[in-house]
């Protein structure tokens, strides 16, 4: 049974509202600059990991740490917050 009968219909935007070719405004251009800056940091992280000599990784803990760092770069959202 619905918890409320006060259902309010919200219309869809008119057809033609979508325009992925709209020139990007100043906000999206600023976001673009932010993304590039983040990429530089990401790239530096990749370089640092590639510079590690794999022959010097000997223990399971060291392998795990390397995997954690690579995983964090490849899948930044894989580490979720603890549940409330």
């Amino acid at each position: 049974m619905p918890r409320t009968t006060k259902i309010i219909r919200v219309p869809r935007p008119a057809p033609g509202s979508f325009n992925k070719h709209r020139p990007a405004g100043i906000l999206l251009q600023a976001q673009l600059a932010q993304l590039r800056q983040a990429l530089i940091k990401h790239h530096a992280g990749v370089e640092a990991l590639l510079a590690i000599d794999l022959d010097e990784i000997e223990t399971e803990a060291e392998v795990a740490e390397y995997a954690r760092k690579v995983g964090a770069l490849l899948h930044p959202h894989h580490a979720r917050n603890p549940k409330p």
Partner: protein
């Protein structure tokens, strides 16, 4: 402590883009005089000297192109009507003239005073009628998005008044990092990968674990796994998604306002549809700044931020001490524990209160502190957790609006966004 505050387990903030209070909620004054909206007599001079009144002609899309100026010099012109000098008085008379400067079209410049009738915004208007409207919630800076959103995350913009992305300095720490230090949970939910977030340079780069997507938000609401504090970002651009066209929902001009309405409705529904979550959540819908669109209330003074922006940075030939707020924005607090139709008076009204985006970290910290044994934290963590900027320390908080009385679910709306 009120029953509503006692029940509170989650604070959710949805921050939309670039619309002023009068533009979105101004028409509601006609049905509730307590709302400090529009009488219809408000006006601005145009470039021919003609007095142009506000008009209820705002449309969802196609009117505000080019995107109205909302950078510091433009907003300064809007607020002060082009006056310069130390003795100038804010008069909110420069909106049309400033918009004219972008396209030299007198008719087009008048559209900056257009506002929506309530029936065109069924979601925001319904929430405003049912829950709490703030007459005095202002953007933190008379400027654009990035610096204003920084106040929501940090309680400061680190001295920036523009879109500079290299603003972040440490300390202070974001509200999310501080929450995690205290053993609480916090997350920024951005819409999806192609939309991403507007908080990249520090948080996405350095704190990726605090991010999730809107799909995850919907799933977390359904499963009851919502963090203590959630900050939701709309879709910032039109793009193709796996299910087809993804229309921008941020309401930034000239994106479709109706899609933003649907997005607000989806966020609300996700909380309302989980009865336990609905009982224990406060949702604030707020806008980052006014986007260059008319509002009639003069932004009030505030305590200085501790930073100063140079004359070069402001672009107005005068420095800025962060000692006054930006233009007023819509803000609606949604919870079953608030009084129906409550209007919180603004700074120029009896018992008036002033809110700004530093009120977000201030409110979250006040709430978390009430249930935290600070001695349980390591000294360094305690120091970081308690770190608050001058603006955060001075900011008003809003959880006192949660009462002992609970609105029946049957009185509350649900939005059909199918």
């Amino acid at each position: 402590m009120s029953a509503g505050l006692n029940a509170l387990r989650h604070i959710v903030v949805l921050m939309m883009e670039n619309r002023s209070f009068d533009h979105m909620l101004g028409s509601l004054k006609a049905e509730n005089p307590a709302i400090d909206g529009l009488t219809g007599a408000e006006w601005n001079p145009d470039t021919t000297g003609t007095q142009i009144r506000v008009q209820p002609l705002a449309d969802y899309q196609g009117q505000l192109d080019p995107d109205p100026d909302h950078h510091f010099p433009g907003v300064d012109w809007q607020i002060f009507g082009g006056q310069t000098g130390p003795n100038r008085q804010a008069n909110m008379q420069g909106f049309i003239q400033d918009y004219y400067r972008q396209q030299q079209n007198v008719d087009q410049s008048h559209k900056i005073l257009y506002y929506f009738t309530a029936d065109k915004l069924p979601v925001l208007s319904s929430l405003a009628r049912q829950f709490v409207v703030f007459n005095g919630w202002f953007s933190s800076i008379p400027g654009p998005t990035i610096c204003n959103r920084a106040f929501a995350h940090y309680g400061t913009s680190f001295g920036q008044v523009g879109m500079d992305i290299f603003y972040w300095k440490t300390p202070p720490y974001s509200i999310y990092e501080r929450a995690l230090l205290a053993g609480r949970t916090a997350r920024i939910y951005y819409y999806d990968g192609p939309s991403s977030t507007m908080e990249i340079v520090n948080l996405l780069k350095n704190q990726p674990k605090i991010f999730g997507t809107f799909d995850q938000f919907l799933a977390d609401c359904k499963s009851g796994d919502l963090p203590d504090y959630s900050f939701v970002e709309p879709n910032y651009n039109d793009h193709d998604g796996p299910g087809g066209e993804e229309l921008a929902s941020d309401q930034h001009p000239d994106h479709n306002v109706q899609q933003g309405e649907r997005f607000i409705g989806m966020v609300y529904n996700a909380i309302f549809n989980n009865e336990q979550l609905w009982n224990s959540t406060a949702l604030l819908v707020v806008y980052d700044e006014h986007g260059g669109i008319y509002d009639h209330v003069v932004p009030p003074a505030c305590i200085p931020d501790g930073f100063s922006a140079s004359a070069d940075a402001t672009g107005t030939a005068a420095p800025f001490a962060f000692n006054r707020l930006g233009v007023r924005v819509p803000a609606v607090l949604v919870s079953p524990w608030v009084h129906k139709g409550l209007v919180v008076p603004g700074p120029y009204q009896p018992n008036g209160r002033t809110f700004e985006h530093a009120s977000l970290p201030a409110t979250v910290m006040k709430w978390m502190l009430a249930n935290l044994d600070l001695n349980a934290l390591a000294p360094a963590d305690r120091q970081k957790f308690l770190q608050a900027t001058p603006r955060e320390k001075a900011a008003d908080t809003f959880l006192d609006l949660l009462t002992d009385d609970r609105q029946p679910d049957g009185d509350c709306p649900s939005f059909d966004v199918s």
